[in-house]
Homo-oligomer: 118 residues x 2
């Protein structure tokens, strides 16, 4: 099954400026209520979410600048197929309230979130 | 108008490995005929293009790892709105055979392609 891109997440230490930029580009954002210390704006971009995540400056070098989230039909099979490539699996498939989630890096270190709905 | 994400482009100096990774993730790629020296694979991801662009290793540090391409209804207005933010405009809107195209950087340096169809 061809995966579906469900969300693009942008991590930035200047999230308000990023929100202004992408708002001027035409997107509409709402600030999301999240745990203390985090700042997240959720936007919509014709069918997928476009999220801006505020991170502390000291964390900037470590955080991926972009994360791509894909919905797949069988997360465990996809992860088993990717494993032999030697990719870094940050989090093995984990059951959540709504399905499964896994985090890994593509061979260049881009952050990939895999989602499988129940 | 809310912009539409039409393409995600990934620049990499190990494009074949990237093609394997995203193929295992479920995407289907076709190698595109382009000018000598470039290697481009075009994939489809449920409504938008997902392109892997091979770049030389010596160029890796300069090239953005990801480029997001958005279709907008009035490219000149969008660029004029973004200009006061002090964003880097790599290429002002330019007429092509099919419409207009412009390249700029978001405030963090992510590469953004704007497209307007005629």
């Amino acid at each position: 099954m061809i995966p579906r891109l469900v969300r693009i997440t942008i991590n930035s230490n200047q999230p308000e400026l990023l929100v202004r930029f992408y708002t001027l580009l035409g997107m509409v954002f709402q600030k999301k209520a999240v745990e203390k210390g985090s700042q997240v704006w959720r936007g919509e971009c014709q069918g997928h979410e476009f999220e801006i995540f505020g991170i502390q400056e000291s964390f900037t070098a470590k955080a991926p600048t972009v994360q791509l989230s894909f919905s797949v039909s069988d997360i465990q099979t996809v992860v088993e197929k990717l494993r032999p490539l030697g990719v870094q699996i940050m989090m093995e498939p984990l059951q959540t309230k709504t399905g499964f989630v896994s985090y890994l890096m593509d061979p260049d270190g881009r952050s990939i979130e895999l989602l499988q709905n129940l």
